[in-house]
Amino acid sequence: MKSQAAYFNGLFSAGSKSSNPKATSPFFAMVRKEVADQVHSWRFIILAGLILLTFLGSMYVSITNISKAVSNINDPDRLYLYLKLLTTTDGSLPPFHIFIGFLGPLLGISLGFDTINSEQSSGTLIRLMAQPVYRDSVINAKFVASLIVISTLFLSLNLLMIGGGLVITGVSMEPSELVRILCFVILSVIYVSFWLNLSILLSVKFRQPATSALTAIAIWLFFTVFYQIIVNVIIKAFLPSPDVLSQDQLVAYNRIILTFLRFVPSQLYTDATTTLLMPSVRSLGPLTMEQMAGAIPSPLSVRESLLVVWPQVSGLIAATVVCFALSYYLFMRREIRT
C-alpha cells in the first residue's frame, strides 16, 4: 500500500512539474513586446488615425454615391456592391485603395525606420543579444510584429467596411466579393511590408534613425514624384514622335514605357488593386482590336483577375523578400557593439 501511495505521489508531482515550467518561447516573447511597442507608439497611433480618417472619408463619399454607381447600367461591375463601396467616388476624394497606395509607404516606413538602429544607440540591442536568443530572432520578431500590426489594421478596416455596408444597404455579399476584398487586404499588407522591409534595411544600414527615416522618405518621394518625370523626360528625348509610328510600333513602345513605370512599387500596387477591385478590368496594358474582338464587357472571375495581376503580385513579393533578405544578411554580419 505504501509503495502505491509513493507511486501516486511521484506521478502527481511529476505531472505538475512538467506542466508548470510553461515558458513562452523567446521569439514569441519578443513578438509580443514589439507589437505592444508599436501599438503604444505615437507614430503608429497618428498614422493609424490618418488611415482611419481617409477610410471613413472615402467610405462616406462612396456610400453617398453608391446608389448612382449601382444603377449605372453601362458598368458591368455595378452589382458588386462591396467592391463599389471600396472604389466609388464622386471626384471629391480618391477611393480608399489609392489612399493606401499613398499612405501605405508612410505607414511601413514609420513602423520600420528605427527598428535596429534605435535599439543599438540606446544600448538595448547588445543587452538583448546577451540573452539566450538567436540573433535572427530579433529581426524576425520585429518584422513579424509589424506584420501583425499592419494585417490587423487592414483586416479590421475592411471588415468594418463590410459590416457597415451590410448594415446600411442590407445587400448580401457574393463569395467572390469577399475573396476579392481579402486578396485586396493581403495585397495591401504585402505592399506596406515592402516599405517596412525597406526601412528595416535602412535601419540596419544607418546608425541614426533620422538618417534612415529621411532616406526611406527620399526613396518614397523619388518613386511617387520624380520617377515618372524622369521616365517622361527620357521618353521625350529618345522615342520618336508618335505621329510617324505605325500602330504596332506604338503598342511596342507603350509596352516598354509601361515596363519602366512598373519598377515603381506603388504602380504595381495600383495595377493589382484596380484589377482586383474592378472585376471588369481584363488587362493592364494596351489591348489590340483583335484581342478585344468578340469580348463581352463582363466581369472576370476571381481566378482570372488573379491571373492578370499575378506578375504584379509576384513583383511586390519579390521586392519585399529581397529587402528582407538583405537586411537579414547585413544584420547577421554586423558588429553589434556601440
Binding site: K22, P26, G123, T124, L128, Q131, P132, E335, R337
Partner: protein, 339 residues
C-alpha cells in the same frame, strides 16, 4: 585539479588591420572575482564580446563552463550574465517590465517571471522604483537595474563591462559592495573590466593588466607588484634636515646593509629600495650616523604604481586608436578619402 570556469586560449581578433586582441591566454576559476584592467581601447570589451559569442574571434577559442563560446553561444548565454558598458533599457517601459521581458527571453515560466523580477529589484535596492519608467532612471539606478537584469537568469558567471562608469563615489562603493556580497553569497564567478584601478583593487581577487590587446601581467596585486618591482618591492624614503656632504660614501654604507638593492640620494632625500622591509634598520642607521631625520616614509606599491609602470609606455600609442576615434563609425565620405 579545479576546472577553470573561463578558459581562453590564444584568442585573437582583428578589426581590419588593427589587432584588437592579441593571442590572449587566461583562465579564471570558479568563485573568483577577476578584474580586467586596462586603458580605453585595450581590447577589454572585444574580449568580453568574444567570451559571449557576440563577436567571432579571428583565431583561438574561449570556453565558458566547458562550452565553446563561438560554437555554442546560446547555452553560454544561458549561463553567463553580461552587463555592457552604457547599459541601456527600454525607456518607455517600467523597471519591472524591462526585467520581465528579459526573464521571458530567458525562458522563465510566465507564472514566476513577475515575482522573480520583483524580488530581484528589491534585492538590488530598487523597491521604490519598481513602477518607474526606465527612462527616468539615474545612472546609478540604471547600473543597479542592469545588475538585477544580469542576476535574474541566475547565472554561473557574471561579466560586467565598466560597471562603475559614470556613478558617483558612494554609488561605486555601494555597487562594488553589492557585487562582492553576491559573489560570496552565491559563489558566482565575476569578470569585471575597468580602467579604474582603485575600484578593481577593492573587490578583485585577481587582476589582469591588459594593454594594446595583450595581457601584460596577471595575478593578485601582491604578485603583480612583486613581478614588476621584483628587484625591490619595498622602498623607504628618508628626509634629512640638511643636505648630505659625502653622498658616495653614505650610499656604499647603506648598500652594505642586508637586503638593500638600490639607493638614490637627492639633496636631503634618500630613497632606499630592497627586497625586504627593513625600515627600522634604516632609521637606526641614520640616527647612529648622527643625521637629523625629519621624515621617514614607507612606499608601498599599489595598483597606481603598477598601472603607471605598465601603461606609461603604452599610453602614447593607444591615444591614437581609442574607442572614440570611431573604428566602426567611418562615414560615407571618409571611406572614399581613404582610397
Amino acid at each position: 585539479m579545479e576546472q577553470p570556469i573561463i578558459e581562453i586560449n590564444g584568442l585573437t581578433k582583428y578589426y581590419g588591420s588593427l589587432k584588437a586582441v592579441d593571442n590572449l591566454h587566461l583562465s579564471i576559476n570558479k568563485g573568483e572575482i577577476f578584474g580586467l584592467l586596462g586603458p580605453n581601447g585595450a581590447g577589454k570589451s572585444t574580449t568580453i564580446l568574444m567570451l559571449l559569442g557576440l563577436t567571432e574571434p579571428s583565431a583561438g577559442q574561449a570556453h565558458i563552463c566547458g562550452l565553446n563560446a563561438a560554437r555554442n553561444p546560446i547555452p553560454v548565454k544561458r549561463k553567463v550574465g553580461y552587463m555592457p558598458d552604457n547599459v541601456g533599457f527600454y525607456n518607455e517601459l517600467t523597471a519591472l517590465e524591462n526585467l520581465t521581458y528579459i526573464g521571458r527571453l530567458n525562458g522563465i515560466p510566465e507564472a514566476e517571471v513577475k515575482d522573480r523580477a520583483r524580488n530581484m529589484l528589491v534585492e538590488v535596492g530598487l523597491e521604490a522604483a519598481i513602477h518607474k519608467k526606465a527612462g527616468a532612471f539615474s545612472r546609478g539606478m540604471k547600473q543597479r537595474l542592469g545588475l538585477a537584469d544580469v542576476l535574474l537568469k541566475q547565472p554561473e558567471v557574471i561579466i560586467l563591462d565598466e560597471p562603475t562608469l559614470g556613478i558617483d563615489p558612494t554609488g561605486v562603493r555601494d555597487f562594488l559592495e553589492l557585487i562582492r556580497q553576491l559573489s560570496e553569497a552565491q559563489g558566482l564567478t565575476i569578470l569585471l573590466s575597468s580602467h579604474h584601478l582603485h575600484q578593481v583593487q577593492q573587490v578583485c581577487n585577481r587582476v589582469g593588466i591588459f594593454v594594446g590587446g595583450r595581457l601584460l601581467a596577471e595575478g593578485n596585486i601582491e604578485t603583480l607588484a612583486a613581478n614588476l618591482f621584483n628587484a625591490a618591492p619595498y622602498a623607504v624614503q628618508v628626509t634629512l634636515k640638511a643636505a648630505i656632504s659625502e653622498a658616495n660614501g653614505l650610499e656604499k654604507d647603506i648598500l652594505r646593509m642586508p637586503a638593500v638593492s638600490k639607493v638614490t640620494v637627492d639633496g636631503t632625500v634618500v630613497e632606499i629600495s630592497g627586497e625586504e622591509d627593513i625600515t627600522p634598520d634604516i632609521v637606526r642607521f641614520f640616527v647612529q650616523r648622527g643625521f637629523d631625520v625629519t621624515g621617514v616614509q614607507q612606499k608601498s606599491y599599489g595598483l597606481d604604481e603598477i598601472y603607471q609602470r605598465y601603461f606609461e609606455n603604452n599610453l602614447k600609442e593607444n591615444a591614437s586608436n581609442e574607442k572614440s576615434s570611431g573604428l566602426f563609425q567611418r562615414s560615407f565620405f571618409s571611406r572614399f578619402k581613404k582610397q
